[in-house]
Symmetry: C2
Subunit: 209 residues, 2 copies
């Protein structure tokens, strides 16, 4: 143990609108640091070709999902197009293994997690500006003009929620590595929060003579 770090990992909540590149940023973070892992969401939607249970999602039936909700086994969930999407409590075990657990989640779910787990760290990924965001959405080529307008509107609405997050990181074009480095620094610094220093204090006094 080099620091006051607790052996537990940090629960890292990452949000970002479509076009902010949060997926790319998180992928770099996990590739470069093997103590960062994704929280795998649970869903009741059917697997798509190539999706593996436990990798892309924990695939569940509607009945299984609702049973887990009743049992308190789901820490947050939402419904979208008639399917459940959520986070199973069992994912948190990765924290006990010392992994920093990345929860890629939209703003409402993120705020729920912050309420349930005040020690979690919430990071908002931002595009450098609205023009860049629009270009990214256009360049995907998969969005209709209406889609793009809706996503732009939604993104700009959501940006006002940044104040509810702990940190904001801008993901510039072609510089996702810098954003990943920033999130790494954030987690590293959080491990040094004075409020997490009790263990070391006790060691100091305990060892005193």
């Amino acid at each position: 143990m080099t620091t006051l770090e607790s052996p537990k990992g940090i629960l890292l909540v990452v949000s970002g609108a479509a076009g902010t590149g949060k997926g790319t940023v998180n992928a770099i973070l996990m590739k470069e640091h093997d103590d960062f892992v994704f929280s795998v969401s649970a869903t009741t939607r059917a697997p798509r070709p190539g999706e593996v249970d436990g990798r892309e999602y924990h695939f569940m039936t509607k009945e299984q999902f609702e049973e887990q909700i009743r049992l308190g086994g789901v820490i947050e969930y939402t419904q979208y197009c008639g399917n459940y999407y959520g986070t199973l409590k069992s994912e948190l075990r990765k924290l006990d293994e010392g992994k920093n657990l990345i929860l890629e989640i939209e703003v409402e779910g993120a705020m729920n997690i912050k309420r349930l787990f005040p020690d979690s760290v919430a990071v908002f990924i931002l595009p450098p500006d609205a023009v860049t965001l629009r270009n990214r959405l256009v360049n995907r080529g998969t969005n209709t003009a209406d889609d793009i307008e809706n996503r732009m509107k939604r993104a700009l609405d959501e940006f006002s929620l940044v104040e509810h997050y702990d940190y904001a990181v801008v993901n510039h074009d072609g510089r996702a590595k810098e954003a990943a480095d920033a999130i790494y620094a954030i987690v590293k610094s959080e491990q040094h929060k004075a409020s997490r220093a009790e263990g070391a204090m006790n060691r100091l006094f305990f060892n005193q003579e």
Copy 2:
């Protein structure tokens, strides 16, 4: 600008008892990152051989120092063995130049700085445990047995103040580089605090359309 960083540097308050190795840690930090600079204290004590005005200290007469206090040019000061020691307001100009300014200061001064500058970041350097701290004080060879007991008592008393700091960093024997890296991560992450993100938000909205 790769992030939401403001062009202003961070005011970094670093405290640590004798034997925590804060001087070594700060020296590494400045050697590795040229955007970190020391705040040079002002004092009314006489220069020692080899000390250069403006490098070790800003050397002043008692009259000059008291004049600066009256003019509001001193942001914190203390008296020790009949001499003034303090921080001149002019040191803060380094922040406007984008430098992160390290203020190595004892706990009372640190708390005053936090009150005056809530945006400052206060880091407490800790030894790994009381036994190690005692060994370091003994190994210096310059302390009498009474000195050592006094310093131990004072250090242990001060450790209870860690809760007033933002961060705590343990400096293990022979691993000052790790402590310096931790402080670097802390400053980097502070630049991403959501509360500092207003500029980017305005850019986003300003650029919309």
